[in-house]
């Protein structure tokens, strides 16, 4: 036997054996943590998957398939106007970086062959931070206030960090790569406004289906809430019409897909989840079997779902075990959390941003973890600080950034993000207490 090869297996088996031998089953805190992990997973499955995640995947997939990356990239090229480049870089993350692994090549490209360090940094920061899926889930689970603060904060943040990086390093000439950037040809076959209306209709379905019941029983918000399924249906019908008119889907197939949803809506008006799920399934089937373009849409959405759902499930289980479901406690005592990141002191904001910067959050898992933290006494300011510093930075991605721009610039970038996130957290915590 070759022990040089076998020792790995032996170590794993040994580790599992000792873990099982000393497994703290029967201790109240451990048993409770297991229960909490599954309870939280169940809560997510019931509350957030059908109305929030499924349409969010379709929207993100649509962005990947229908918005041409090339048309955005021309604003980030070497000859682009600086003001435009910063503006585009700060928001284009939501369009270009649907897949997180595309961020770094784009960043390196904008830095070396395109608009330079400032816009490149703005893009690097905003890419993961304003991911559509992340914003949607944040608003749904943690509240619309924090969702909007995250989106607006991330955009403003990226421009400021980009400008500061440009100012700090303006004396350094960047070595432009010898190769001329190969810009993919934009293939435009649909006016921009049609795409905009398409996404607006899809977002309307998402927003109204998730409209929460307001505290008061009068006023506009309540009126919207009581009519939310009617509004959602109108938006869905409009969306179907757009698909037929501009996206070349045949009308009878759309009708075929809509019939089960409509039937379920009439038969079970009290369980809107059934009709909604049927609608999503119907749409998936006709897009998956439709023309090239709609197939690409489905493939991108499916790819995203396949990539993100396992990570999210894992994140939810870990968050549940460590922090418990809303109103409960997991493995970590609440006092620890409120001692570290409670209130809105400079210390707790700084702690949240530093922890967020170094920790690795797989896409979207920051949401259940943050929800657990808030529930265990984390302040609103530190929560935003963690959201602003967390997804954009992690130890592994710092190492890759370092390989592109060097140690000095990376250190400055990371410090800027941590300091800014702390300041934003302080301001937000003071405004919304």
């Amino acid at each position: 036997m070759d022990w040089k090869k076998e020792w790995k297996a032996l170590t794993v088996i040994g580790a599992v054996f000792f873990a099982a031998f000393y497994l703290p089953v029967g201790r109240a805190r451990f048993d409770n943590a297991l229960l909490e992990a599954f309870a939280l997973a169940k809560w997510y499955a019931r509350e957030h998957v059908v109305f929030c995640l499924l349409p969010a995947f379709l929207i993100a997939g649509g962005i990947a398939a229908f918005v041409s990356q090339a048309s955005v990239m021309k604003y980030l090229g070497a000859r682009a106007k600086k003001v435009v480049a910063y503006g585009v870089a700060s928001v284009s993350g939501s369009i270009l970086a649907v897949c997180s692994c595309t961020v770094l090549p784009l960043f390196a490209g904008i830095y070396r062959m395109g608009a330079g360090l400032g816009p490149a940094t703005a893009f690097l920061y905003s890419g993961p931070a304003i991911n559509v899926l992340a914003i949607i889930l944040t608003a749904r689970v943690l509240g619309i206030e924090l969702g909007v603060a995250r989106a607006v904060g991330a955009i403003a943040f990226s421009i400021i960090v980009g400008l500061l990086m440009h100012l700090i390093f303006r004396r350094e000439e960047t070595e432009k790569a010898a190769a001329q950037a190969v810009m993919p040809e934009p293939d435009v076959h649909r006016p921009l406004c049609q795409n905009a209306v398409f996404f607006a209709a899809m977002i309307a379905v998402l927003v109204f289906a998730n409209w929460g019941r307001p505290a008061s029983s009068t006023g506009l918000w309540h009126a919207v809430w009581s009519a939310k399924w009617i509004i959602t249906s109108v938006a869905a019908v409009a969306f179907a019409a757009i698909l037929v008119a501009w996206f070349g889907l045949t009308w009878w197939r759309i009708l075929l897909a809509a019939i089960p949803a409509a039937l379920l809506a009439v038969l079970f008006p009290d369980v809107p989840m059934l009709a909604f799920a049927a609608g999503v399934v119907g749409l998936s089937v006709i897009t998956a079997t439709g023309g090239d373009e709609s197939r690409e849409w489905f493939t991108s959405s499916w790819g995203l779902a396949k990539q993100i759902l396992p990570l999210l499930l894992f994140g939810v289980l870990v968050a549940g075990a460590l922090l418990g479901r809303p109103g409960r406690e997991g493995l970590i005592p609440s006092e620890w959390v409120s001692a570290a990141v409670g209130g809105n002191s400079v210390w707790s904001n700084l702690f949240a941003s530093v922890a967020g910067a170094f920790m690795y959050f797989a896409t979207l898992t920051e949401v259940p973890i943050l929800q657990g933290l808030i529930d265990n006494g984390m302040g609103k300011g530190p929560a935003l600080a963690l959201l602003l510093a967390g997804p954009a930075l992690s130890l592994p991605n710092m190492l890759v950034i370092r390989s592109v721009i060097g140690t000095k610039k990376t250190t400055v970038y990371v410090s800027l993000v941590v300091v800014m996130a702390t300041l934003c957290g302080l301001a937000y915590g003071a405004l919304f207490r």
Binding site: Q69, A70, M73, L96, C99, S100, C101, T102, L104, P105, L106, A108, G109, I110, R112, M113, G114, A177, A178, A179, Q180, A181, V182, M183, P184, G303, K306, Q307, V400, S403, V404
Partner: protein, 77 residues
Amino acid sequence: MKTIQILGVGCPKCQNLTANAEQAAQELGIEYELEKVKNVSEIMKFGVMVTPALAIDGQVKASGKVLSAAELKELLR
């Protein structure tokens, strides 16, 4: 003998492109060598910003999208 290079840091899209390229080359029955370029600096040398990208004999043929096996066959012919 053709050299096919797949440029990308290794996301699912790059893997799809790799699979399609292999399929296309095998269906054409040509001699080929497939290389994956994963280092960001190496990718920059091709002048590619949007991954996944594909280069044949050092020439970038496509960037930012996953070509189907049929499209790749046209390029490899």
